[in-house]
Every structure is written in C-alpha cells, then in structure tokens.
C-alpha cells in the first residue's frame, strides 16, 4: 500500500471517528463467555500463490496469527470451525450450477469440489479431530449453512473471526455474526485481502458498526481468562 493511500485513509478515519463518536457509533460489543473460532477461507486456493483467489501476507502474518489462535482454542477444547468454499458444478454455462449467480462477478469456477486440494485448509493450520470443516457457497459463513444453529447448540456466545478476504467473506461473516446475536470479534493480524487499502477500510467500517477489531494478543489473553472456566464447568441443564 502506498504511503499516500495510508495517510489519506488515516485522515479520513480521523474525521469519521470524530463524527461517529459524537453520534454514538464505534461502541464496544465486548467478549462473551464462550467463544468459537471461525476461520474463513484459509484454504490453499486462497493461501497459496498462483491461484485466482491468492491473498497477501499469508506467510508473514496471517498463518502465524492463526497458529497462535489455534493453540489457544485447542488448549481449552473450544470449538473451531474451518470454513472453505467449493462447488459441485463449475461449468459457467450450466444454469443448474451451485455457484448460483456469483460466478457472474468473481472466479468461483476455479474451486471445484472434486479438486479437494484447492479447497483443503492450508496444512499449516489444518483441522484436527473434533474441529469442523464447513463448506459454504457464498461469502458469509452463515449464509446457507448450519453455522448459526450449530453455534447456538454448542453454547457459543462469542465468535472470533479470521481469514480472507476483509472485503468479502470475512466482512459478511462478521456482519451476520452480530446480526445473529453473537459477540463478534475481528482478529486484526489474522485477516487479509488482495488489493491495497481493502483491509484498512473494511476493518474501519467493521469496528465502527459490527464487531470489535482486536489484536491476537488481546484475544489470547481472553482465551486464557475464559478457557480456564470452561474446563472446570460441566454443561448442566435444569
């Protein structure tokens, strides 16, 4: 990202913050009592170079941030959902395709379900036993999936969202998350994109209206706080 863009955006955010604060935006939703990690599209077609969907800062920032988060969630046996995207019918001329209309905007025809390597979660952060892999067809991890009902039944009240991209699947997942009644946290270092500025302006909008943007460090400290309680507790019903 150019210095000029970053400076211009920071100036715009400062002015927007002034307006937002005067009107009651940019409040804190806060962390709840039982979190799940929702990791969006950190599959090879997004994490590895050479794909249409490949994103930036995977190796130096996003994957290491995810590894730290996974360690925290696994330590306390908290739910982890690895979300990915693929399609059974990727022939763009077939009106019956499960891509719906989305291939008319973006190259979703590049992730065919039969090519499991493309949509498999990156091996550096691969699911372990007891963690779900959820295939979605649209941007939001909630849209057209069982995620909302699943999280409720698992007693989750808080979601930490990571992955790519800030301007599409991560943002949509976050907006649906708070809409569905979950304390929603965007984990700053673990979110990426593929064009200059998109992470900045999307996280700004998100923090103003939908979720708290927090660092990995803050999230790990929260996991330590809440995780210890989880282990001691048995789910007892009345």
């Amino acid at each position: 990202m150019s210095d000029q863009l970053e400076q211009a955006l920071e100036a715009a955010f400062a002015e927007a913050t002034r307006r937002y604060q005067g009107r009651g935006f940019q409040r804190r939703v806060g962390f709840g009592n039982r979190p799940a990690l929702i990791s969006v599209d950190l599959a090879n077609a997004w994490t590895r170079a050479g794909n249409a969907f490949a994103c930036e800062h995977m190796d130096d920032r996003i994957i290491p941030a995810m590894q730290a988060l996974l360690e925290g969630f696994r330590r306390y046996h908290l739910p982890v959902v690895h979300v990915t995207t693929c399609y059974e019918i990727t022939d763009r001329n077939n009106i019956n395709t499960d891509m719906g209309l989305w291939h008319k905007k973006i190259p979703v025809e590049t992730v065919n379900q039969a090519d499991s390597q493309a949509w498999a979660i990156d091996s550096r952060i691969a699911p372990i036993e007891g963690e779900l892999t959820l295939i979605k067809k649209r941007a939001s991890a909630f849209h057209g999936t069982y995620l909302g009902g699943y999280l409720r039944s698992a007693g989750v009240d808080t979601i930490l969202v990571t992955g790519v991209t800030a301007s599409a699947c991560v943002r949509e997942t976050i907006c649906d998350g708070i809409a569905d009644g979950f304390h929603t946290i965007a984990v700053k270092e673990a979110i990426g994109d593929r064009i200059p500025g998109a992470v900045l302006w999307n996280l700004f909008d998100i923090d103003a209206k939908f979720a708290d943007v927090e660092t990995v460090e803050t999230c790990l400290a929260y996991l330590d706080r809440v995780g210890r309680t989880q282990k001691a507790e048995q789910p007892v019903v009345a």
Copy 2:
C-alpha cells in the same frame, strides 16, 4: 397399517375436509413453470434394511416412483437435488458436535460423514453428472443449506418433493418450500415413513395447508408439458 386405523383416519379426514372446505383451506397451489426435483434422504441408511433410519416400501413403491421421476427430469435437463444427512462429529458427549441438539431426540449419531456408504444416495437412483448432492444437518432440506438461494438462481419456481420421512424431513422441506415462495408438490408414491399411519396423516396435513399431493403420473404429465418449453427456451436477460 391396520384396517381399523385406516378407517378411523379416513373418517377423521372426511370430517376435517368438510370443515376445511367451509373455511377456505385445501386450496391448490398448482404447478409453476420451471420445476426442480428435491429428493430427501433416499440414502442407504434410510433405504436399506437394518439401519436405525430404515423405512418401509422402498423396493415396491418409493424407488420405482423415483426412477420414473428421475427419467422425466433428466429428459428435459431440469435440476435434481439429492439431499442426504451426515455429521462430522458423532460423539454424543462432545458438545461441539454438528449434530446440534438433534441427537437428543433421534439417532443421528448413526450417520458419520466418514462412513460415506451410509449417507450415499441409493445406487438405484444415484446422482448423475450435473445433479447436486446436498448434505443437510437438520430435518428440512432448506434449513441451514444453500437450497433456497440455489433454486432462485437456477430460475426454479416449483419443487417436487420426494423421499423420507413424511413425518420429519419431507414435511419440513415442504413447509419451508412454500414459505420460501416455491410452488410445492408432494409426490404421493415417492414419500415414505417407518411407522403405521404417519404417511397418511402427514400427507393430509400437507395437502390441507402447504403443498398439493399429486401422483407420479400427474407429475410426469406436467414434466412433459413444461419440459418441452424449457428445451426450446434460452435464458435471456434484459
């Protein structure tokens, strides 16, 4: 089913029909212009004897009815969705299971995703290329799935629903179908269950309030009528 039960139900339905007709229930939703076939849970765990979910009248009625319907849909390249059910985590003690709370009512723990034989569509009516296999986690084929959005993008306005069971997944799919704005048809011979009377009373409720119950013969005649038009038409947008 005992004669006594059948007679008692028919008498009840006659009285109910008298009341319903006087109040404007039991109307016809009718067929629309572009149908899809939604076949619910005709997978081995439901179609083959010896499973917790095994249903009655598979070989003598439901599978042959489905074969006739599939031939009709395939002749005109109309969309077919084969719906099945399975879970990644079937340990009932794991609160993080994708079974949600449903295992607390019925034995969903018997269909693990790793055991693909259990949830594979019955080979006598197996999907062919270009037909979708949709995995659901709950009763309705619409709940927590991409089905509604998919059907809209495929230009579908009518769904023919088949499969098992009348008292759960088929009924829920039908109720969601009309709720989502689709002309919804329950195909009489292609719907089953595993307890006496359940097909009768559920199809009665469905026909009164949610969908038209029609025979395979009526549905095939409809496909011939509407299918010919489909082939001639190209999807043109303004």
Copy 3:
C-alpha cells in the same frame, strides 16, 4: 374427536413407540438454563369464534394454560414473544402480495394488517411492557423473522412453544427451534387445532423427533427451578 379415532390412534402410537424405542427415537432433549415463551398465533382471528382460523378449546384449555405460563415467565422476567400473522396486501390477484404463495393453500387473506383487531393478541393474554409482539408471514415463527438471532442475543437456550395450530404454525416453530439449537418444549395443554385428531398425531410426531411434550405443571416447576437462578445472576461477560 370420536372414540374410534382416539382408540385407533392410541393403538398406532403404541406400535410406533415400540419401533421407535428399539431404534433410538423418542429421546428427551430436556430443559436448558434460560427459557423463553414463544406463543404462536393466539390472536383474535385464531382465538375467537367466527373467524376462518378459529380453533377449538380456547376458553376451556388453551387460554387458562397460557395465563398460568405467563404468570411464571413474568415472575422471573424471562422473555416472552407473542407471535401473530398478518399481511399488508391481501388482494389475492396481486402478484406482489406479502402473502407469497400461501394464500393459494389457506385463507391468509382474512388477516389484513390494517385490521389490527384481527391480528391483535387475545386480550386475556395480552402482552405487557417488555414483551415482544412478532409479526410473521409464514407458518414458523422463525421463518423470515428475527426470532433466532433475537433469542441468541438474549442468552436463551430453551423455548417453550404454545398456541395454534398443532398441524401448522406450532409444529413448524418447534421443528425450526430444535434445528436452530434450542432445547424445545411443546406445552401440551396450551396447543390446539381445528380438526379432530390433529393435536394427537402432531404431538406424537413432535415428541418422537423434535421436542419434548410436557405438561403445564412440569413447565411451571421448571420455571421455579431455573427462574430463581436467573434473578440472582447478573449477565457478566469475560
């Protein structure tokens, strides 16, 4: 309901129970830790004689049961949602109607939003301040409404469902309830219908697969148990 029908159904249920028990159905979902009351369509068009939607056993059974339940929920400031149904456009020839396709099956054109008397909750169980009135357009109180997201944000894990009818709106609400991850309870005496047998066969299906059917007395005892805890607790987040 005729004795013949009741006897025939009881015999069928006995046989079905034998099969279900052998296969792991009819389990108990149980009560959770924080309940909401979801009361479906107990509005004048359903509770008062002379309407197309009028149901039976309102005065002698359902309204008294609801009054007892409301007292329990109000004692502990637990959430109550009064669900009703109405439409802005009830001209059946207008394709743009918010009735969708449902008027093609049942007489929903009889509840126009402008006629608030028709869809107002029955005055004997009227909402008090702090209780929500939710307008739905379809059978399920969850379908096309904010109910699921609302309940999650309110920390609810259990829903007690009441109202009419057993064969449509109550059943659909219950099926969606457990699908969305809520411990779902059908309150026996507070559920009705308008045709003979429909309450019996629908509650049988529901108890086998979707929710526990419990008496008002059992539910009130539960509220006393769990309500006391609620009052003492402050919602604390990590």
Copy 4:
C-alpha cells in the same frame, strides 16, 4: 471529501482494478427479467438532519434519484419494498431487547417503534398503496425478514438497491441479494453514507464482487425495456 482522499482512493482503485481484471473479478451480473426496488432506510431518522443516523446528500442527490426510480417502477406496477428499522424495546439495560447486540456498536436505541415518525419513510418518497413497508432489525434487509421468500413468490429475479448506508445496511442487503440468487444492482446516485470516502470504497468493493453499480439513467432505460414486457404478460402457470 478531501481531494487528497479522492485521489488516493482512485489511485488505489486503479491498481486494484488491474489486479482484479487479471484474475477474473469485476465481472457483470447483469439485469434479469423482473426487477424489484429495495429502498433501504430512507426513513426520517436517516434522511432528516439532526438525528444520530442522519446521512449526507439526501436533498441534492438521493431523494431526487429515488423519485425518478419510483416513477419508473410505478409506471410498470413492479414491486417496491420500502425498508426501515425500529425496535420495540430500546432500553439498553434490558437483555430481552429486540435490538439484540447491535446497540452495543451503534445507536439503534434512537428508533423506537412507538415513535413512528422516526422510522416512517420520508414523505417525499412515501409508499403508495400496493407497496410494502418492511421493518428490519439488523443491517441487511434480508436478515431476519421475509424478503427473500417474498421476492421469489413475486417472480422477481433482479433487485435494484438504494438508500443508506453504503457501509452498512445497503452493502449487507446487496451481499445477501446475490447470495440468495438475485441479479443485484447498486444504484449509484441513490446510495449515501455519513462519513467521507465510505460511499466510494464500499461501492468499489461491491462492484468488484457482489453487484453491478449502475446509474439511475441506465436503470430507468432498463425499466422501460423490461417493464413493457411485464405489462403485456399474464403470469401463466403450466
């Protein structure tokens, strides 16, 4: 908006466009055959100065654009949905509020359902008979509402989205629109926000991935093309 910001964003968009084009993004979804107008939050609390939610460019740009669009939709009796937002319980200390968790980020407590002036559609673009007013609780006009099912039953395959804000309710509505299978169009002059740059960066993201951004003029020409056909056609079902 400062010249510096505009120039920096245009430079960033140029670079992003280069990348997107090389990878198959920024395609055209196109117009379909039957459109609806979805106008988001053009109610007094958003259109009139002095409210927490008040937006910019109402009088000089957005309201006139909406008036032109409404004339086009009304000429051909095409469906119009006026979306607005309000809440029954706006006490932020009440955990049972229908605001869910959203009041923890933005000042939704300022639009109480009892204050109908606040959430009424601006009188300059007020609904006429046959047009729906849809109350939502969250950002997207689809989330927790009957909009998706309604549009399907009305035979709609295309939505033109207008209103405020680009960074929240309009963007979420658009993302859900294409996800649900609708050809989705963002009408450029009829979309606003309340902070500098937000319209620019959100429309850029939207056009790249979710919807076509089109001018009022292009939309009106489309209405003339497609509207004439609508009038001649009777909805015939097979």
